[in-house]
């Protein structure tokens, strides 16, 4: 399962090389004009049958959240900062891999017997232990700017899978499956993007290069459908695991083009493909936020896999949602015509 390799591959924002290689290996037989642009995006074209005259862009981001080496303590402890959105509360007691040599380390926590912290210990006060006996040993093994990834392994749990970076390696895997299948009525311009987690950087230049008429972003989004929290009874779950891929109508970064939302829903209903809407109540943005306002504007929409515990080492996703993400997009693209975008 390529999803396993993609999830296990390490690719914190700006260090997407291992993911890029897996993707290049997977798409080079069916995708033309493959290139790696100045920022590291993988761009290419899946040739279509030519029946529909639209420049269609499909994007999924390769990078994952992580951390970065920032400094050292005298006892060899490594100070670090977040790369992308991290909740500092998930970090104590977590295993990590530091730097290009993937040095195993752990995030320290003062024992419960000696620890009176009641407020969240900010990331600035947390330390990574790689076993360095002192500052010099830590400095000789790593250097400031080294990226740090969660150390966790992809696991199949049955109807679900668990692993790091399913946001958005699952979207990458779906896009790979889509370009490996039958051609579409139009040329599909694919972009596997870098640096989404630090501000949608890769998608911005990819959109400028592709100049699409319409864009689809394949994402993996938040889901928190746990038993109700009595302190926050009105808390939205954002999505429901197993409810099908989630169509974004709006998030912090963009408003999806309603014509594309309608098209996806119509096709999903006609074909009996499960789907749901991502609640617009909560924060979060995607590459569509950069793509939709590139050049003179691009009608855009997001289709995302619901996934619990994203931006952590052990996120959980439903395999049926994942399979339906590519099914829904394949059906929608087969039915896509300029009329969908008529005003």
């Amino acid at each position: 399962m390529i999803l396993r390799e993609l999830s296990n591959a390490i690719g914190v924002s700006s260090d997407e090389g291992a993911v890029r290689q897996l993707i290049l290996d997977a798409i080079r037989d069916t995708v033309d004009d493959i290139r790696i642009d100045a920022l590291g995006n993988v761009l290419g074209v899946r040739r279509g049958t030519g029946q529909v005259d639209l420049r269609v862009m499909a994007a999924a981001h390769m990078d994952e959240v992580g951390m970065m080496v920032f400094g050292y303590d005298g006892d060899g402890g490594i100070r670090f900062r977040a790369v992308g959105g991290l909740d500092a509360r998930i970090l104590p007691g977590t295993r990590v891999l530091v730097g290009p040599d993937r040095i195993p380390g752990i995030i320290q926590w003062v024992p419960v017997h000696l620890n009176a912290d009641t407020k969240t210990v900010p990331i600035e006060r947390l330390r990574i232990d790689i076993g360095a006996a002192n500052r010099e040993a830590a400095q000789s093994a790593t250097e400031p700017g080294d990226l740090i990834a969660f150390d966790s392994q992809f696991t199949e749990l049955g109807p679900t899978v668990r692993g790091k970076a399913l946001d958005d390696r699952a979207g990458c895997a779906s896009l790979i499956a889509l370009v490996q299948g039958e051609p579409f009525p139009f040329d599909l311009h694919v972009a596997f993007t870098v640096q989404e987690e630090v501000g949608l950087r890769g998608a911005r230049v990819a959109a400028n290069a592709i100049r699409p008429d319409v864009a689809f972003v394949l994402e993996t989004t938040a889901c928190h459908d746990l038993p109700e929290d009595p302190d926050e009874p009105d808390q939205t779950t954002i999505t429901q695991l197993g409810g099908g891929p989630a169509i974004t109508v709006a998030d912090r970064s963009m408003i999806s083009d309603p014509r594309l939302v309608r098209h996806l829903v119509r096709v999903g209903e006609a074909e009996g493909i499960p789907h749901q809407f991502r609640s617009p109540q909560h924060a979060g943005g995607t590459d569509a936020g950069a793509i939709h306002r590139s050049r003179a504007g691009v009608p855009s929409v997001v289709v995302a896999n619901p996934c619990r515990y994203i931006h952590g080492p052990h996120s959980i996703m439903s395999l049926s949602d994942f399979e339906n993400q590519s099914r829904l997009l394949r059906a929608a693209w087969m039915a896509l015509a300029p009329s969908v975008l008529e005003r």
Binding site: G85, L86, V110
Partner: protein, 359 residues
């Protein structure tokens, strides 16, 4: 074949055996000690009691080594819609649980994780959740979980030990499997040395919930002297210096009312004579270990505590230095090999019973 101590510690660390559910540890430790002790017994609470017979004439004196084999863990308290709410077995710190992987020991071991809301939506990021706020997710539909999991099933950290740089390891349950490993080292050393006394090695149960095992083990063994071996706090960022000991600089000998003063002096002299690196820890009252209960077993037992520094105690990433474990084992072996038939006379209270005193 000489003991591969790192591999031995990693093996013991990986066993799932929280307080009250120690079977896996008991079986593995019995296997590890099989060639090193002469007899094995299991008492009513589940303590493993291994005896290595001494060479002295009968009736022989007995030294008891006691390391608890249980680990902190959790049990299933409630199941709702396939999600599992847990209760503590021992001193779990709920501040490290968000996003931690666990094994739920139902009809089969199910990989689970403590669910953490993504940063996009968690509103209360300034405070840590309590255990009641948390749910374990095993990624299965509610019907499957209801079939596979019952209230009371044990839950342990899913945290295989890893090697850090130098001689350090990180993993769960080093508190207190490293002390079990120190006993293994001691028994190995004694295999090649004469010792007059019987050595009774105990892997005790239920220390983390109140040293229940040590009470019954000490009663059954009736030792003449006892050494408890447990984890201690290693120096680390954010912990105060007085209560912590530098990792890799040797095990720790406890000093205070929990320990027999003459026996303490003797143990320190053995360490000095053998040039074993060690620390001394001031413990003004309860040591918080099995030693506290062993000392007051039956009519009283002269007791010691040797402890092994570790960082991040009671988390899935406890960090130890293997050298400290080896030193603790060798120290105990040196002490035991030096116990002659009349050793108890040498630690007798110095005060005299007769009015004139004796010269």
């Amino acid at each position: 074949m000489p003991l591969d101590l790192k591999a031995h510690i990693k093996h013991l660390s990986g066993l799932a055996a929280p307080s009250g559910y120690e079977e896996a540890a008991r079986d593995a430790i019995r296997e590890a000690w099989a060639g090193l002790a002469d007899t094995f017994e299991v008492d009513g609470l589940g303590n493993l009691i291994a005896t290595k017979t001494g060479s002295g004439p009968e009736p022989r004196r007995k030294v008891m080594l006691c390391a608890h084999m249980d680990e902190i863990g959790l049990i299933v308290a409630e199941i709702r819609d396939g999600f599992i709410r847990a209760a503590m077995l021992g001193g779990i710190d709920s501040r490290v649980l968000l996003s931690q992987p666990v094994l739920v020991h139902g009809r089969r071991a199910l990989p689970g994780v403590f669910g953490a809301a993504p940063p996009h939506m968690s509103r209360r990021r300034t405070e840590y959740p309590t255990l009641d706020d948390l749910w374990i997710d095993v990624g299965l539909p509610g019907e499957d979980v209801a079939e596979l999991v019952r209230v009371g099933d044990a839950i342990t950290f899913d945290a295989p030990a890893i090697e850090l740089k130098g001689d350090r390891l990180a993993g769960k349950s080093f508190d207190n499997r490293v002390s079990v490993a120190a006993i293994t080292v001691c028994l190995e050393e004694l295999a090649a040395r004469q010792h007059a006394w019987d050595v009774v090695a105990v892997a005790s149960v239920q220390e983390e919930v109140g040293s229940h095992g040590a009470i019954t083990a000490a009663y059954k063994v009736q030792p003449d002297i006892a050494i408890a071996i447990d984890g201690n706090f290693a120096a680390q960022a954010g912990a105060n210096d007085d209560e912590t000991f530098k990792l890799g600089d040797g095990p720790v000998l406890g000093r205070g009312p929990n320990f027999h003063p003459q026996l303490f002096k003797h143990a320190r002299e053995v360490a000095k004579a053998q040039e074993f690196k060690h620390h001394i820890e001031a413990l003004p009252a309860n040591s918080g270990t099995d030693a506290w209960l062993i000392q007051v077993s039956r009519e009283g037992v002269p007791s010691l505590l040797i402890s092994i520094p570790m960082r991040n105690m009671h988390t899935p990433v406890e960090v130890i230095d293997v050298r400290d474990v080896r030193r603790a084992g060798r120290w105990m072996a040196a002490l035991i090999a030096g116990l002659g038939p009349d050793f108890l006379d040498t630690i007798a209270w110095p005060e005299t019973l007769s009015e004139e005193g004796e010269s």
